[in-house]
């Protein structure tokens, strides 16, 4: 049985422009101790998915539709009353955020905030919470933890604060850690350290990690499996190795092609043309159709998540899986060259 099982999650928001179907039928599983990456562009529903799992969707304007299911072990989280959900948060699922600069309360010391989390969830005394808190700071690689314990957030660097956020998330020994763009706001060198730290901790705590990011490099570095999201849907899933070496969905192909490869292109970019459609008004049929180099008449019908032939556990939301003969080598490069020359 997977640790977390999300089935047909639909989270809609009522906005002035209309009903935004931010997450529209997302399903995935995370096993104990596994790291799953969710990748996609801004606005594809990654963050809303993670907030839905945490039960932190503001209602109104947000709403998780009946028929959606989020199960942690054998408990249906969507059916839990708020009071019990609060106990799940922090206790069994913890979350760290993108912006470490504002993730800590500026008026309390770091130690005070770690102690609060520990005392609330584990019923510890003050001295005991301090001892464990300092231990956690050491675990997340903060030098001089005793001194840092008494400092205020503004005295610490961004990377340091993200480490402290991780320490707070770990304080209650969660089974699942959701990391929403944990390195986006950090310097590249610090990014690598934080990712290494996450991988370390996951290793010796046997904690599952749900990593939300738009950075494929990050995914390649730490994830076991990947779910690619586009326009509120899962478009492809598979192991990191499979996704990176044999992408099936044209969107994934585009994402990988858009990574700048200095050795080959001398810095030339290959962006996916066009933009993500609006969540208020998804296109009919395949939502990637307008930007897809392979699109043909069949794409007017919405494709289901199709199993990839002879690759168990992989799925792609593309009609190409039914008509592999239409798949041609990615012609994107030639077109891009042409465009560049004509300019």
């Amino acid at each position: 049985m997977p640790l977390l099982s999300v089935r047909d999650l639909r989270t809609y928001f009522s906005t002035d422009a209309g009903l935004a179907r931010a997450v529209d039928g997302v399903s995935f599983d995370i096993d104990r101790g596994e790291t799953l990456g969710i990748v996609g562009e801004s606005g594809c529903g990654k963050t809303v998915t993670s907030l839905s799992v945490m039960g932190l969707i503001p209602d109104p304007p947000g709403r998780i539709l009946p028929g959606s299911s989020i199960r942690l072990r054998d408990r249906e989280l969507l059916a839990l009353p708020e009071k019990e959900m609060r106990r799940v948060r922090g206790d069994q699922i913890a979350m760290i955020f993108q912006e470490p600069m504002t993730s800590l309360n500026p008026v309390y010391t770091v130690g005070n905030q770690i102690q609060e989390a520990l005392r609330l969830h584990r019923n510890l005394g003050k001295a005991e919470a301090r001892r464990i808190g300092i231990g956690l700071l050491r675990e997340v690689g903060i030098p001089e933890p005793e001194r840092r314990f008494g400092e205020f957030p503004h005295q610490l660097s961004g990377g340091m604060r993200q480490r402290i956020m991780i320490a707070m998330a770990l304080s209650c020994e969660p089974d699942l850690l959701i990391a929403d763009e944990p390195t986006t706001a950090l310097d590249v060198t610090i990014q690598a350290q934080i990712l290494e730290l996450l991988a370390d901790i996951r290793g010796h705590r046997e904690m599952a990690v749900l990593l939300i990011t738009h950075d494929l490099g990050v995914v390649a570095e730490v994830c076991d499996r990947v779910v690619v999201m586009y326009a509120g849907q899962v478009v492809e899933s598979g192991t990191v190795h499979e996704i990176f070496h044999r992408p099936r969905h044209p969107y994934t192909e585009g994402l990988l092609a858009s990574l700048p490869d200095l050795a080959r292109d001398r810095g030339r970019m290959h962006p996916i043309e066009g933009t993500v459609p609006s969540a208020v008004n998804w296109p009919s049929g395949c939502r990637f159709r307008a930007r897809c180099p392979h699109a043909w008449h069949q794409c007017g019908a919405p494709p289901p998540l199709l199993d990839v032939a002879d690759q168990p556990g992989r799925a792609s939301r593309c009609w190409l899986e039914e008509e592999p003969s239409r798949r041609r080598p990615v012609g994107g490069e030639a077109t891009h060259e042409g465009n560049a020359d004509s300019r």
Partner: protein, 376 residues
């Protein structure tokens, strides 16, 4: 060498005359103020020894005054001694935004002066039983002592009932300052709680609270006060309550605005993700972050309240005679302004100085606590 870094070489002086070593080292503000307070306390003890020594048997007022005196002297003495014995500069670690704000505040001389004046006013009010030369309600001889101009015996003269104006101004300070403090305290407490709930919870709750605020604000406050007080027997308790209950909407709006922006900060989201309940988030995480504007609003609010109370008393709806109150005194002296200018002028000046001090201190606090206005 910056002041305050080197340990003083005269700790003995700090024991005998607190404030003097600091003053000699060029710290005019803190040293001078400590010295001023110390001299004030010592003079009170020496000149009013009979009252100070008999304070415990003389009733509640005197006991409070005695406690203030002892506490005040201990504080000044303790501060000076600790400061003088300190061998290291202020510790650099653990600087919170409050420490930074304190530093910014200290640079603002006018505001520091305002805060010192406010402190002095409150000390004076608390020590009044020792300070006042006469009983404020005691009438002298209506023939010989009525409406005497200021003199050595009556520093501010006497009024139509041959009462000592200075004593009445001093006792009036107790009324005005305590009304200002308590009423503003009530208003700020209600305002902060409602504002935080309104901003944090949002939705229908927010709408309801804010419409209620609009409603309360749309009443002309003075008319509302006059109506309420006219319906009941005026008493200090009623006036404090009514002033407090009509002043909260401003702070509600300030706090709500502040909370609306705090709510979007990630530490609020992070707190929720750690499973903190809404009351915990509001009381422990949101409200402390709004305290800066609240303190400013409170300081300025005390000044407003004192003026309003004086206005009500002036109209005869505030503190009832014979209890001295600045507003009443100004009103009473008005009829004889030409024959005895001192009767209205001194309580009037008292109002002006107190309110001015509060506003100066409040403005300084706002400058110090608002990071957008703070440089470096």
């Amino acid at each position: 060498m910056p002041p305050g870094v080197r340990p003083t070489d005269r700790p003995v002086l700090a024991v005998l005359v607190p404030g003097l070593p600091q003053l000699l080292r060029g710290r005019i503000a803190s040293g001078g103020f400590a010295l001023l307070l110390w001299i004030f306390f010592v003079v009170v003890v020496v000149v009013r020894w009979d009252r100070v020594s008999g304070a415990i048997a003389a009733g509640f007022d005197h006991q409070v005054a005695l406690a203030t005196l002892i506490l005040g002297m201990a504080l000044v003495w303790g501060w000076s001694l600790r400061d003088a014995l300190r061998t290291e500069p202020e510790p650099r670690v653990g600087r919170s935004q409050w420490t930074l704000a304190t530093r910014a505040f200290r640079k603002n001389r006018v505001a520091v002066l305002g805060l010192m004046a406010v402190t002095l006013f409150y000390l004076t009010a608390l020590l009044t039983p020792f300070l006042a030369p006469f009983d404020p309600t005691q009438q002298g001889s209506l023939v010989a002592e009525r409406m005497l101009p200021p003199s050595g015996e009556h520093l501010m003269g006497t009024d139509q009932f041959a009462r000592d104006v200075l004593s009445r101004v001093l006792y009036g300070a107790r009324v005005s300052l305590s009304i200002g403090f308590v009423a503003a305290g009530i208003a700020i407490t209600i305002g902060t709680l409602l504002g935080a709930i309104s901003g944090f919870v949002g939705g229908k709750v927010d709408d309801m609270i804010m419409r209620f605020v609009d409603m309360v604000i749309s009443f002309p406050r003075l008319v509302l006060l006059i109506t309420i007080i006219a319906l009941f027997e005026p008493s200090i308790f009623l006036i404090i309550t009514v002033l407090g209950l009509t002043q909260w909407p401003q702070s509600t709006r300030i706090v709500r605005g502040e909370v609306l922006s705090l709510r979007e900060r990630e530490f609020v989201q992070a707190g929720k993700a750690l499973g903190y309940s809404a009351p915990r988030m509001i009381l422990r995480h949101v409200i402390p972050n709004t305290l800066a504007p609240v303190i400013v609003a409170a300081t300025l609010g005390i000044g407003d309240t004192i003026v309003l109370e004086a206005g009500l008393s002036f109209l005869g709806l505030g503190i009832q005679p014979p209890t001295p109150s600045w507003g009443t005194m100004v009103a009473d002296g008005r009829a004889d302004l030409l024959g005895g200018w001192w009767m209205s002028t001194f309580p009037g000046l008292a109002i002006v100085f107190v309110v001015l001090s509060f506003n100066l201190a409040g403005d300084g606090l706002r400058d110090a606590l608002d990071p957008r206005l703070r440089s470096g």
